[in-house]
Each structure stands twice: as structure tokens, then as C-alpha cells.
Symmetry: C2
Subunit: 156 residues, 2 copies
């Protein structure tokens, strides 16, 4: 079962809720991001989208991604010098970059800890977003269940 399988109408609603025109291209880009719980690059998204909409252009994928990131529907993850990746998960979470497998795991942190991060800035500093990335290895835990329970979630 795909983790998310929103209908055309639901996707439209979601876009309109953000004051974004629900074009077919935006819809399919969003759909593709949501239906697999990974962190694809723009190129990967382009490839997946093309299977469903062969006429779409890479520039449009970039445009759509910019729009979706801008309105907070997807998050953007930048690790080192690698190409930007996009994350479908809306809830506040961190990323763990496995250096051995190259995979990216979502990591849920205790709410209270995220809250503290938001508060520790010196006076005058107003954070609109926080990015927390870990790098390292996952000994023996390379094949995690795709459940979204406490602690962690999908790879790459």
C-alpha cells in the first residue's frame, strides 16, 4: 500500500488551500512526492512524473517544487554538495544521512526538544525554520520497517 494516495480532488484542495493554482503539473509533482516516502531529487521527480505526464519539462518540475516548498507543502533538504532533495513529510522532524548507504532517514524528535531548539536563540533572532541534519551510520538497521512510528522512517 502506498503511504499516501490522495485523489485528484484532495490534491487540488490542498493546493488551493495554499492559494496555489491547482495545475495538472503541480498536482502530479505533488502526487509523485507523496506516494513514495523517500527524498527524491528534482531529477528523480522529473523521471517519475514523466511516466505519467510525458510532456512535462524539467523547468516545470523546478517551478512546481519551488512553489510547493514556498507554500510549505514539501520541505527541501540540502546535504553537503549533493543535489537538493525533497521531503514529503510535513511534521517537524530531523534528517539522518547514512554515510554508508547514502540513504536519508526521517527522524522524529521529542516535541519538547524541538520546542527548546526554537527557544534557545539569542534575543532578536527570530527563526522561521529549523533544519537539523545528522550524519553517520546505522549499524545493522539498514532495512527499517516503513512504519512511521516513534523514532524514524523512510529511507532516501
Amino acid at each position: 500500500m502506498p503511504s499516501t494516495n490522495e485523489t485528484h480532488a484532495a490534491l487540488c484542495e490542498r493546493l488551493k488551500a495554499c492559494d496555489v493554482r491547482p495545475t495538472p503539473q503541480r498536482e502530479v509533482v505533488l502526487k509523485v512526492i507523496l506516494e513514495k516516502r523517500d527524498h527524491p531529487t528534482a531529477d528523480e521527480i522529473f523521471a517519475r512524473v514523466k511516466a505519467q505526464m510525458p510532456t512535462i519539462s524539467l523547468a516545470t518540475v523546478y517551478n512546481c517544487l519551488e512553489t510547493l516548498v514556498g507554500c510549505g507543502i514539501v520541505r527541501q533538504v540540502n546535504l553537503e554538495r549533493a543535489p537538493t532533495r525533497y521531503c514529503p513529510h510535513l511534521h517537524e522532524h530531523a534528517h539522518f544521512h547514512d554515510e554508508e548507504t547514502g540513504r536519508i532517514h526521517d527522524v522524529d524528535l521529542p516535541e519538547e526538544l524541538m520546542a527548546r531548539l526554537r527557544e534557545v536563540l539569542p534575543p532578536g533572532f527570530q527563526a522561521s525554520s529549523i533544519e537539523l541534519n545528522f550524519r553517520g551510520s546505522t549499524q545493522g538497521h539498514h532495512a527499517l520497517s516503513p512504519s512511521n512510528g516513534r523514532g524514524n522512517a523512510a529511507a532516501n
Copy 2:
């Protein structure tokens, strides 16, 4: 006064301590990074280094940076799609990206909080490094004193 002003000998020692051959190029790249408390890009570093060593090539700057990052003498900061920046500060700290000015501020966080971050990962996840980036604005605090006291430090 420059924040750091290490001698030739001191720079050499620092490189040798990391099992890195102290070549003149590596030395001058490191020197340039240390003598200004900002977060220059590879290009900016190239420009500064060229003033002192006009024959150096950009590829060498990239090579040196890779070496210095690899042995932990400088840190690498990646924010969104912007070019990689390099940070001379060795102690564990976060970065604050001011969206209005484009500047990057170092942010010292309470030791205890950094320690907690290191501990909250699910079992099996071993983090070798942590990257914590804030984005937002600094109302009225655009000109901070360069002191490295509690809370924050140099811009860009």
C-alpha cells in the same frame, strides 16, 4: 585586530597534527579562513588567497578545502541551493541564516542541549556529526559586536 593570526609554524603544526602535509597552498587557504570570522564560499576564498599567492588555482583551493574539511579543521555549511560556505570555528555550534541580509551568524547553544541532540537518535543510529541551521531574521541586531561571547558571533 584579526581574530586569529597564527604564524607559519603554528599553521604547519596544525596541519601536521592532522596527518596532512603542510603545503604552502594548504597553509594559505587555512590562514585566509582563520583570519576573518566569516563564512566565505570557495570562490571568495580563492579571491583572498590569490592576493597572497597569485599562482594558485581554483582546483587547488577546492582540493585544500576538501582536505581541511576532511580532517576537521574547518566546517562546511550548506544552506539551500546556495554555494557551499566554510566555517573556521571549531567548537560545536549552530548557524543562523538571516534571510534579510543574507548573512550567516554562528550561534552557540548550551552545551547541555547539544549533548541532548547527540543522544536522541533511535537505537542503532550513530551520528558522527550534527548540523543545525536556523533561518529567519534578526530584528535590529544587524550589527553585532564581534565578541565571541554567549549567544552569537560573526556574520557571513
